[in-house]
C-alpha cells in the first residue's frame, strides 16, 4: 500500500491512469457496440413488427399507403425487405424531405430501435433481403478482389476512388466515404432508387465483403501522395494548378519585380 501511494505521485501516474481509463471505456464501448450489432441482426419479434406498424402508419403511410401497398407518391414496400428499410431510414433518406430527382442523405429521423421496428414491420409484409450478418461486414475480406469487383460494377457511377459521380437529370451516385459497411451492403442487395440491384447471384456475399473491405481500406489509408483534392481526377488537379500553383508563382513574380523600399 505504501509503495502504491508513493508511486501515485510519480509523474507518469497521471498518464497511466488516463491510459487505464481510456482502455476501460474503450473496452466497454466495444462490448456495447458488439451487443448492439448482435441485436441488429437478431430476428425480429412480433412486438417489433407491431410497434413498427404504428410508426409506419404515423410517418410513412402518407406516401407509401396504408399497409405499405404504395400510392402515387411512393412505391409499394411489400417484399423490399428489412435491408431496404434499414438503408433508407438509417441513412436518413427516408422519410424524404421533398419530392425530387433523388432522396438525399441526411441525419436519420428515427433512432436505432425505431429503425429496427420499422424494418421488422416491412419484413413482415413479404420476403425480401434481410439486414446483413456481422460476418460479411468484418472488413477482413480480400481487398484486391474487392477492388476489381468495385471497378467493374461500381466505379462507373461512384468513381474509382468512391468519390461519387453524376447521373442523368440531377441524379447522382453519392460518395462512399463515411458510409457504414452495413449500409453499403444493404444498398447493393436492394438497389435503392436508380442503383441497380446486385443480388447474391450477381456478387456473392464474399464478393460484397471484399468490396466493403476494399472501400474501408482505401478510406482508412488515405492518399499516399498528400491531400487528395477530392479524388475527382484531372479536373480538380487542373483547377489546383491554375489557381493555387500559378497563384503562388504570380505572387512570387510580383515580389520579385517590385522595388524594395
Amino acid at each position: 500500500m505504501k509503495a502504491l501511494s508513493q508511486k501515485r505521485r510519480h509523474p507518469l501516474a497521471a498518464i497511466a491512469l488516463l491510459l487505464m481509463g481510456l482502455l476501460v471505456s474503450g473496452g466497454l464501448y466495444a462490448v456495447a457496440t458488439t451487443v448492439n450489432q448482435a441485436k441488429a441482426t437478431t430476428s425480429f419479434s412480433a412486438n417489433d413488427a407491431e410497434e413498427g406498424g404504428k410508426l409506419f402508419a404515423a410517418n410513412c403511410a402518407t406516401c407509401h399507403g396504408m399497409g405499405a401497398s404504395g400510392s402515387k407518391d411512393g412505391p409499394s414496400l411489400v417484399g423490399v425487405g428489412a435491408a431496404a428499410v434499414d438503408f433508407q431510414v438509417g441513412t436518413g433518406r427516408m422519410p424524404m424531405q421533398m419530392n425530387g430527382p433523388q432522396a438525399y442523405k441526411k441525419p436519420a429521423q428515427f433512432n436505432d430501435e425505431q429503425t429496427h421496428q420499422l424494418s421488422a414491420y416491412v419484413a413482415s409484409l413479404g420476403p425480401g433481403p434481410s439486414i446483413p450478418e456481422a460476418g460479411v461486414l468484418d472488413e477482413k475480406g480480400d481487398a484486391a478482389n474487392g477492388g476489381e469487383l468495385f471497378r467493374t460494377n461500381c466505379a462507373m457511377c461512384h468513381n474509382a476512388a468512391a468519390a461519387g459521380g453524376a447521373l442523368t437529370r440531377g441524379k447522382f451516385a453519392p460518395a462512399l466515404a463515411d458510409v457504414s459497411g452495413k449500409h453499403i451492403y444493404e444498398a447493393m442487395v436492394t438497389g435503392p432508387q436508380n442503383m441497380p440491384v446486385f443480388s447474391d447471384a450477381n456478387i456473392g456475399p464474399e464478393g460484397k465483403r471484399d468490396i466493403i473491405t476494399f472501400l474501408k481500406q482505401i478510406e482508412a489509408n488515405g492518399s499516399p501522395g498528400g491531400a487528395d483534392l477530392g479524388a475527382l481526377g484531372p479536373v480538380s488537379e487542373g483547377l489546383f494548378v491554375w489557381i493555387a500553383g500559378l497563384g503562388v508563382i504570380i505572387a512570387f513574380t510580383i515580389w520579385l519585380t517590385s522595388r524594395t523600399s
Binding site: 471497378r151 466505379a155 453524376a166 437529370r169 440531377g170 498528400g226 519585380t257
Partner: protein, 559 residues
C-alpha cells in the same frame, strides 16, 4: 587575348577570381565577344514578363524528374501480376508498365515524389506557356518584328500538349486507358484513313500491346527534342529582338529600359528557377496528382465516373461532350456512298481546335493587314489601349473556357446540385453566345478604363478627402499627378480608322474596301489620350483647387 598578344603593354589584371577565370577561358576558347554582348544586356522588369521563364523552368524540372523516372519505368504491355507492396492491388493482373508505375509510387524511395513533381510541373508547364501567350497577345507583343517568334511560341504550345498527352497515357492505368480509347474513337472517325491510322498506331486492334512503347518513345525522345529545338529558336529570337517593355516615362521604341543582365537580372532570373522548383516541390509533397493506384490497371470493361483528360486536352473533350449526336430527328453521323462520315465526332474534335490554332498562328498578319501598320513595335500596348484586340482575345478565351468547363460538366452538376443535362444545354448556348457577350463587355470595359485614365491624367487622382466649402458644397480634393505618372497614362498611340486607299493602278479594289471596313470596326471606338492643351484647360480648375485647399470660397468643379 589582349594580354598575350601585346606582351609589352602592362597586363590587364582582373579584380576578382571570376574575372580571372573568364580571362583563362577566353584565352583558350574565345567567347569574350558573347559575354561582352550579353553581360550587361538590359532586361525590363515586370511580373507579367516572368511566365516565359516559368515555362522554361518547369521544362527543366520536367527533364530532371523525367530522367529519374525513366530509370524505373518499363513501357511494356506484357501481362503480369502485381507483387508490390500496395495491398488493394495485390496479385491483380496488369501490364508491366502499370506495375512499374506502381513500384515507382510505392517501392522506390522518393519515386512517388518524383512522379508528382513530374506531373505537377507538366501541368504548370502547359499552363505557364498558355498564360505567357495570353500576355503576349493582350499586350500586342506579337507585332513586328516578333511575328515569327509568336509562331514558334504557338508550336511550343502544341508540342507541350503533345508531350503532356503522351506522358498521361504511359502508366497504362484505367483513366489514361479510357483516354486512349477516346483518342482511338476520334481517329477512327477520320474519313478514308481513320481505320488504317488506328491500326497502325495501336499495332492492330485497340488496345493491342504496342501503344505504350510507341508513346514512350515519342514522350522521352522526339517531343522533348523538338521542344528543346523550339526553345533554342525562341530564345535566340528574344536575344535578337531584345525584350519588349511596357509604355512609361523614358521608354520608347528605340530603347530598352530595365536592369542589366549581370548581376541584378541574372540573379533574379536564376533565383526564380529555384523558386519555381520550390513551389512545384511543395505541390508534389502535399497534393496528390494522378493517383493511378485508385484507377486500377487498364481493362476495356470498367470505367470511372469523372473520366477526364488533363486540363490542356480538356477543351477538346468538352467540345466532344457539347456536340449533339442527333439534332431533332437528324442523325449527325451520316452514311454517304456506303461510307460513314462521323460528323458528331469529327466536327467537335477538329473544328474548335482548328479555329483556335489557325487564328492564333495567323493573327499577327491579320492585324497587320487591317491596320497597315508595318512599323516595328517594342513598346507594348496596355490591353485597354487596344480595345478591339483585347475584346477579340477575350472572346476567344471565353470560347475556350466554355469548352473547358464542358469537360467538367458532370462535376459541375454534382457539386452545384444541378442537372447534368441542364449544364450541357447552358454550355451549348454559351458556346455560341459567350464569345459575343465577352467581346462586347470587354470592349466597353476597355473604353471605360481609358476614360478613367483620361480623367485621372487631366484632373488628378481622387484622394478620398472630402472638403466642405464655406457655402456648404462638399467636394473631393483631387491630387495632381507628377509628370512621370501622367506620361504613363497619356503616352500611347490611338490610331483612327484607315480609309480605303487606291492601289498602284489607282483603283480601290474589293479587298481594300473590306480592309477599310475592318479597320473602321477595329478603331472606330477609341478614347484618345489627353493632350497638354486639355491639361492646361483643366489646370484652370486645378488652380482653384489649390485655392480651395487654402480656404478660398470660390465654386469649383466637383467630381
Amino acid at each position: 587575348m589582349s594580354a598575350t598578344s601585346t606582351p609589352n603593354a602592362p597586363a590587364f589584371v582582373a579584380k576578382t577570381k571570376g574575372g580571372r577565370i573568364t580571362n583563362f577561358v577566353d584565352e583558350r576558347v574565345g567567347g569574350s565577344g558573347i559575354l561582352r554582348e550579353f553581360g550587361r544586356k538590359v532586361f525590363p522588369d515586370h511580373w507579367s514578363f516572368m511566365f516565359g521563364e516559368v515555362a522554361l523552368y518547369s521544362f527543366v524540372i520536367l527533364l530532371l524528374s523525367g530522367t529519374f523516372l525513366t530509370f524505373f519505368f518499363d513501357p511494356s504491355m506484357a501481362e503480369t501480376r502485381y507483387a508490390g507492396s500496395y495491398t488493394p492491388l495485390k496479385n491483380v493482373e496488369m501490364s508491366v508498365a502499370y506495375s512499374s508505375s506502381l513500384d515507382i509510387s510505392f517501392d522506390v524511395r522518393g519515386g512517388l515524389f518524383m512522379r508528382q513533381v513530374h506531373h505537377w510541373s507538366a501541368l504548370l508547364f502547359v499552363a505557364s506557356v498558355s498564360v505567357h501567350m495570353l500576355r503576349v497577345f493582350f499586350t500586342g507583343a506579337f507585332r513586328k518584328p516578333r511575328e515569327m517568334n509568336w509562331v514558334v511560341g504557338g508550336v511550343l504550345l502544341i508540342l507541350s500538349m503533345a508531350a503532356g498527352f503522351t506522358g498521361y497515357s504511359l502508366p497504362d492505368d484505367l483513366l489514361s486507358g479510357n483516354g486512349l480509347r477516346i483518342i482511338d474513337g476520334v481517329i477512327k472517325s477520320i474519313p478514308v484513313i481513320g481505320t488504317y491510322t488506328s491500326f497502325f498506331l495501336f499495332g492492330g486492334e485497340f488496345p493491342g500491346t504496342a501503344i505504350i512503347g510507341r508513346l514512350y518513345m515519342l514522350h522521352i525522345l522526339l517531343v522533348p527534342a523538338l521542344i528543346l529545338l523550339m526553345i533554342v529558336l525562341h530564345l535566340f529570337m528574344v536575344v535578337v529582338h531584345k525584350h519588349t517593355q511596357y509604355p512609361g516615362p523614358g521608354r520608347n521604341d528605340g530603347n530598352v529600359v530595365g536592369y542589366p543582365l549581370g548581376p541584378v537580372y541574372a540573379a533574379k532570373a536564376g533565383g526564380f528557377f529555384f523558386i519555381v522548383f520550390g513551389v512545384v516541390a511543395l505541390m508534389a509533397g502535399f497534393f496528390t496528382i494522378n493517383p493511378i493506384w485508385n484507377y486500377g490497371p487498364y481493362d476495356p470493361s470498367p470505367v470511372s465516373a469523372g473520366t477526364q483528360p488533363d486540363w490542356y486536352i480538356g477543351f477538346v473533350d468538352g467540345a466532344l461532350r457539347l456536340m449533339p449526336g442527333i439534332i431533332g430527328d437528324w442523325k449527325v453521323e451520316q452514311i454517304w456512298f456506303g461510307h460513314v462520315f462521323t460528323f458528331n465526332v469529327l466536327l467537335p474534335a477538329l473544328v474548335p481546335a482548328g479555329i483556335i490554332f489557325t487564328v492564333l498562328f495567323t493573327y499577327p498578319w491579320i492585324e497587320r493587314w487591317i491596320t497597315k501598320d508595318n512599323r516595328e513595335h517594342h513598346v507594348l500596348d496596355r490591353p485597354r489601349n487596344a480595345p478591339t484586340r483585347t475584346a477579340i482575345g477575350m472572346a476567344g478565351f471565353v470560347w475556350y473556357c466554355v469548352m473547358w468547363a464542358a469537360a467538367g460538366s458532370d462535376l459541375i452538376a454534382t457539386h452545384f446540385h444541378v442537372s447534368l443535362n441542364d449544364v450541357t444545354y447552358w454550355l451549348r448556348a454559351l458556346f455560341f453566345v459567350g464569345p459575343v457577350i465577352a467581346f462586347i463587355v470587354t470592349k466597353r470595359v476597355a473604353l471605360a478604363l481609358q476614360r478613367k485614365d483620361r480623367e485621372i491624367a487631366l484632373h488628378g487622382r481622387e484622394t478620398g478627402r472630402i472638403v466642405r466649402l464655406p457655402h456648404g458644397e462638399f467636394i473631393e480634393v483631387h491630387a495632381p499627378l507628377d509628370e512621370y505618372k501622367r506620361y504613363k497614362l497619356v503616352g500611347f498611340e490611338s490610331p483612327s480608322p484607315l480609309p480605303a486607299e487606291p492601289n498602284a493602278h489607282g483603283v480601290v479594289d474589293k479587298k481594300e474596301k473590306r480592309r477599310a471596313k475592318l479597320s473602321q470596326w477595329f478603331f472606330e471606338d477609341r478614347v484618345a489620350p489627353a493632350t497638354p492643351a486639355e491639361l492646361a484647360a483643366a489646370h484652370g480648375h486645378h488652380g482653384t483647387h489649390e485655392a480651395v485647399e487654402a480656404g478660398d470660397s470660390q465654386k469649383t468643379l466637383s467630381h
